[in-house]
Subunit: 143 residues, 2 copies
DNA sequence: TTATAACCTATTATAACAGTATGTTTATCT
DNA sequence: AGATAAACATACTGTTATAATAGGTTATAA
């Protein structure tokens, strides 16, 4: 599995925040209820989004989270990459991994490199705003 | 990680077999030595290739394995898919998984579907013969 | 000063991955 | 016929990542 729940949930959190902006700060508890994800688990995901300055949080009563960037400025590929710690399809292309000694004569390396280009080319062509506008079969979601 | 060692090694085995065809049957022991992969682990991978009729094996002394199909007829995407049990980038698109109840109003589903198309479009455009012909930086591999 | 909500640290259950270990069957060679 | 060599089969195991939980601390508003 290329993308785990961390990447998937991060996108859902960002879309949820974008859809509920304007009315002050958004509580994790509310996101958790709407998205049917454990609040505690969301915390660990939002923590990363805060660290990356995509979201900012205010403590205490009346506090919560807000996007610190417009949805059309949040790149989906970038979010997935830092949530997942990279999107390399194979271990030998993970950044920080030791260079493979077989690389000079490897018959598969170029194939993997190509796949490793194709994925970000796709993911990076989306912003959170694009996801919000995604057409759905039965778009009857009550906001 | 989208692709585990099983998929990676399977391709290396197939390329190795293609490069050493003609001289009778190829012993797993030899492949294991050339590829520096444990023979026992290779067994479990080749087993799948035999099951899929891409490779066939002959027991006993002088036995070994051979490709049962020409390298240009072996699709890389297909090999990866059955070795990995699918290449879906997210759990909700795995075949055999329960349909997601959120699908009708999911803002990310179409995005994932798109990624799930992009990956096979790339992988399926390669055959084992293509991999063999892949240009390398320092192609000094001794066959 | 109490309620609330973000923030922080540690722990845990499960499953997949990557590989081992041991043995059985089938074929060839002497 | 017997030794050897290879595929084939089944079961087990250590390690790691995932997907959370649990329990607490700090900051803010009413």
């Amino acid at each position: 599995m290329l993308i785990s729940t961390r990447g998937r949930y991060a996108l859902r959190i960002l879309i949820d925040m974008a859809e509920h902006h304007g009315s002050g700060y958004i509580k994790l508890k509310d996101i958790a209820e709407r998205q049917e994800i454990s609040e505690k688990y969301l915390e660990s995901i939002v923590k990363e989004l805060v660290k990356r300055h995509i979201v900012y949080g205010v403590r205490g009563k009346g506090g919560g989270y807000r996007l610190s960037v417009e949805p059309d400025q949040i790149n989906v590929g970038e979010v997935l990459r830092f949530m997942e710690g990279g999107l390399a399809p194979v271990a030998c292309l993970e950044e920080g991994s030791a260079p493979c000694p077989k690389a000079p004569y490897c018959r598969t390396l170029e194939f993997w490199r190509g796949l490793d280009e194709v994925i970000p080319r796709y993911t990076d062509s989306f912003t959170v705003a694009d996801l919000m506008a995604t057409p759905n079969a039965g778009n009857d979601y009550i906001i």
